[in-house]
Subunit: 347 residues, 2 copies
Amino acid sequence: MQAGFIDGGTILANIKDIAKHLGVSVSTVSRAMNNHPDVRQETKLQVMEAIRYFNYRPNALAKGLIQKKTFTIGLMVPDLSDPFPTSLSNAVEETLFEQGYQVVFGNGNRNSEKEKQFLQSAIERQFDGLILTPDFLDDEFIELLSSLEIPIVFLRRRPPEGLSIPYVDVDHYQAATVSMNYLIELGHRQIGFIGMPQSSFIGNERLRGYTDVMRKNGLTPEAGHMIFGGRTIESGREAMGKLFGHNPDLTAVFAANDLLGIGALEWLAMHDIPVPEKVSVIGFDNLEYAGLYWIQLTTMEQPRREMGRRAAQLLLQMIADKEYTPESELMEARLVIRRTCKARLTP
Amino acid sequence: MQAGFIDGGTILANIKDIAKHLGVSVSTVSRAMNNHPDVRQETKLQVMEAIRYFNYRPNALAKGLIQKKTFTIGLMVPDLSDPFPTSLSNAVEETLFEQGYQVVFGNGNRNSEKEKQFLQSAIERQFDGLILTPDFLDDEFIELLSSLEIPIVFLRRRPPEGLSIPYVDVDHYQAATVSMNYLIELGHRQIGFIGMPQSSFIGNERLRGYTDVMRKNGLTPEAGHMIFGGRTIESGREAMGKLFGHNPDLTAVFAANDLLGIGALEWLAMHDIPVPEKVSVIGFDNLEYAGLYWIQLTTMEQPRREMGRRAAQLLLQMIADKEYTPESELMEARLVIRRTCKARLTP
DNA sequence: CTGAAAGCGCTTACAG
DNA sequence: CTGAAAGCGCTTACAG
């Protein structure tokens, strides 16, 4: 029951084949497919049947070319192998899919060139909108951005100054003060900080939360109590080693993300330093890892699904009304108390 | 220095604007852009400059429509939140990107409808090829597949009978015999099996490895030693509970994937049953999790990057030569010995 | 080396 | 309710 070859020529049916087969015009077929009101019910039914018979699918390129709308949205993620953004991407994808959009993932790959190429590709392919998590906001990238007339929202990143692009992010500073206050309340005073690369905006916001809370409590954030450089388990392990080597009197550590926190826990476990009895550790992100039986990391949970959904919704609004630039959204992280933090024994 | 508005009309420059601006024909601009040999060097340079000036990017829809080639490839993954496929997808993406292709991720979502919709979308959007990991091979899906004339390769799945679609997968049966032989060599005789849902081809291949090696060693795979149903940590935990509850004399467990294995380890840890002293556990996949300090799961590593790369290469070949259907590839998994398996003490 | 023309597969005013 | 025609933004024989 397959059409396969039509008139011994074309491989796949197009709208012309359908029209010819039914003895109607191409316009009529088009209208019938798109539920145009001005089509006789009978005609519509015939068209539907012919479509089934020929296994016809309209060519989205032709459609997009003429309608100037592709129902395609680009979603740039910094690193496909980073576990953090997946549930976020999932939420973006679901929200957009419900509205008939296909989302195209772009692998930024923590690589400036790839990020730019993704933008280029998005322009050439006429995407309807873009959700971006760029790591490299150099001049060239910003110029590219500003030359675009596609709706854009930033996710987990702040847009460069001067561009009115809305963003969705967590208030990292505020969240960091929450976790720091928690440690302070538990009685900790000697608190270390394991940070991401200092080029990271997010990392710096969390650091700012750390230093501010320290100062507010009359404590000096000492250079020797802070260490920067990575975002992986391995670098967390290393950092913990250095930190504790220089400051064996630390009673708590604030790790700027869970991977770093888990690395810290590994180092402490390897050196038989009991957590939380001797050292408390708090992370940030609430990755799946954090809940493992052996880890049970106390951490700040980012509302990942909500962030993804919200970013998608903002974008949808912008697409619906091109004049409108919605407000950015700063969401709150939530303290998830597990088993790596404990009140310091008052001496 | 931005063009922005051209002739107070169009927003974005197109090839016509460039041509008009230079006083040459559209064909000449097209040829200059595409490095056609028959273009004067000087003309080419002028075109290049105009392109820069207008910030012009060719419309990929128009290009695709006429060239019948979109440089777009669809990659279906079963579940965006599953940690297993990411490095695999990464390798696919890298390989394809090098050759100028954009890959579009499709979220199968372990949902039959979404898988079909992705195929439909791929047809409409004229993708050049497809890498598929479908979970639902019902009749409708198979018919859809066979009506396609796009090159397809299956990744981590076997194509339905009758369709000559090449695939790339690990030899799960062979790998399972490797891990089982390892347990047998360690002296284990009472070996349990924690399996995936019985609808899973992969799960059944691993099960077959288990039962065959048991039988070859004169052991009977007892129904009470096997348990099926999930692929998550939680279901591994549950399964281990049931298994051990009924068979406290088990000395080893073969978990059909790492998540199940980790769940099993959790249950054992929660019940103070020492691993590997009392019970050995072996997994399958070698997820990142498996290497965590507290887990150190002995497991079978799948060559994920190679699988992804290979699938992409096969597809590229098929795209280059549409007549050619390459051989499928069955790769070998590798035993990664960590700390969850130990020789059984001979009584 | 360059241009005019046809055409890719659709949609959409415009007429009737 | 339906059809003929123009057009979306390109590429590519065909002529010159």
